[in-house]
Amino acid sequence: MSLFSVIRETLFGFKSLIVGMRITALEAAKPIKTVQYPHDTLPMPARFRGHIQLVLDPVTGRPKCNACTVCEKACPSGCIDLDGLKREGDKRKSVSKYLLDFTKCSLCGSCVEACPSDAIEFSRQYNVVSLSRTTFDNMDLYAKAEAEASEWTKNHPAPAEAVVAASAVPEDGLKPALPSAPAA
């Protein structure tokens, strides 16, 4: 190697060092990407697979599920246990019990695929943690859906005729289906 090629190589190498320094300096000037997890969270992606949950009908605010038990049969791990009953004034059965054994669930999604009325979906619940197994081996999805339904009715004030219908609430405390779409 001649002297000049050594000098040229050294200068070239030094220039590459300067380029590297410039890159890191420019990166340092850019805004920070970190999401401070417990304080901030990213929105969950649309296709995230959390445990399943019951879907509410956007018109009536009631769970869409009509207790056909297709999901129960589709589940390869047998972790769904559901029951339905025919409520007064309804034409069809509706869900009255929906227990999920999440300890067995492999999130395969067969139940969601099998459901003929799109009544179950994956939740976005990713921080499922507990100190005891009992929290997850009997998850009451129906109670959760009921809580959501009562929240829904609070946010969607019933029209006048619905209030009349609501006065005839059956003894078991279940509200009847709201007849029409609310204004909101």
């Binding site: 050294t10 030094f14 060092l17 320094m21 890159i23 990166e27 340092a28 850019k30 920070i32 970190t34």
Partner: protein
């Protein structure tokens, strides 16, 4: 009061307290700056939970290290194992004696200050070597061997560069080296070599900026900083010479590393960037001088951090090649060039 402060024992005590506090605070907060800087470069915030923006993180780290037990593993050389952290801390403390932080803010200005700094700066490698040897650990011994060969290799170009500087300045007195560079940034040694504005003729060495780069690279290698951190090399040698150290024994090695960086950058500031002299000619003297000095030194220190988080670690033979094949020849060339440029005009003047 002033007579009391200038009493010799009081002066020594003040110096000790001041330098220890300075080194301690620097080590603590440079670690934070390092982590913050690494974070910024990798686009994350770095430590930000302890106090506002992580300002209390060094206290938490220090408390953790102090609470840990320092234990010597069986088979170590007990005395050397315990002595190494002390020995690694002593040289930077000694070097800070002669560094002028301001016009009058110097522990003891001796007329061989530069020699003093390099004499003590070179002991640093001894401590790392003894620590590595005494640990009775394969990785530590390998690291000790690396430290010695690395420091021997980089001491040479560094001292050649310093000799070049000496030929320009003509003095070993750090205070005087600084006052020679007064008046503005064009009078700093790094530019004075190209054109001497004070004397109004061409300077003694147009390669002076290259000289500074060599000095800086050697400083990185001498303080075992990335990309030359062969002593630690955590991906190859666990933690190198520090493998068997825990608690504050380990902490002291890191304090010494940062203290060495501070010393190295301070010397670079004094030699090349006019020390406490103002870069614009005004706002000089007194506390302004100290502020300028610290601003320059910390700019260099943050560049050390910037370099660390930019370049990957070199391979060991590349490290030695860089020194023996590139840095030493270039520094010899600058040395020769300086000699020629200083003496030839004198010779011509005498002849004709």
């Amino acid at each position: 009061m002033t007579t009391f402060l200038s009493l010799e024992p009081v002066r020594v005590l003040l110096y000790l307290v001041g330098v220890c506090a300075f080194v301690g605070a620097n080590a603590a907060y440079l670690v934070l700056a390092e982590r913050k800087g690494a974070g910024r470069i990798q686009r994350r915030p770095g430590p930000n939970e302890a106090g506002w923006a992580g300002i209390l993180q060094p206290l938490a780290d220090g408390a953790k290290l102090l609470a840990k037990q320092v234990m010597a593993p069986p088979g170590t050389d007990g005395l050397l194992y315990r002595l190494a952290p002390l020995m690694v801390m002593a040289p930077p403390l000694m070097c800070l004696v002669t560094i002028p932080f301001g016009e009058h803010l110097v522990a003891r200005n001796i007329n061989i200050g530069l020699l003093f700094v390099f004499a003590f700066g070179s002991i640093n490698v001894m401590a790392l070597m003894l620590g590595g040897w005494a640990s009775r650990n394969k990785f530590s011994i390998m690291s000790a061997a690396r430290v010695v060969s690395q420091n021997v290799a980089y001491e040479i170009p560094m001292l050649l560069v310093v000799i070049t500087m000496l030929m320009v300045t003509g003095t070993l007195d750090l205070n005087e080296i600084v006052t020679q560079q007064s008046g503005g940034f064009w009078n700093w040694n790094v530019l004075r070599g190209i054109w001497d504005f004070k004397a109004g003729h061409i300077g003694a060495n147009p390669l002076m900026p290259v000289t500074f780069v060599i000095f800086y690279i050697c400083m990185l290698a001498e303080t075992n900083r990335a990309p030359f951190d062969m002593a630690e090399a955590e991906s190859e040698l666990v933690a190198g010479a520090f493998t068997e150290y825990g608690g504050m024994g380990f902490g002291v090695f890191f304090m010494a590393e940062y203290a060495n960086i501070v010393v190295g950058c301070s010397v670079a500031t004094v030699l090349f960037f006019g020390g406490y002299e103002s870069p614009i000619g005004i706002l000089s003297g007194g506390l302004w001088g100290t502020a300028w000095f610290l601003a320059k030194a910390y700019a260099l220190i943050f560049t050390v951090i910037w370099v660390r988080w930019t370049f990957p670690r070199t391979q060991f033979y590349n490290l030695l090649n860089l020194s023996w094949k590139i840095l030493i020849p270039i520094s010899l060339v600058t040395l020769l060039l300086t000699g020629v440029m200083m003496k030839v005009p004198m010779l011509l003047h005498r002849l004709f």
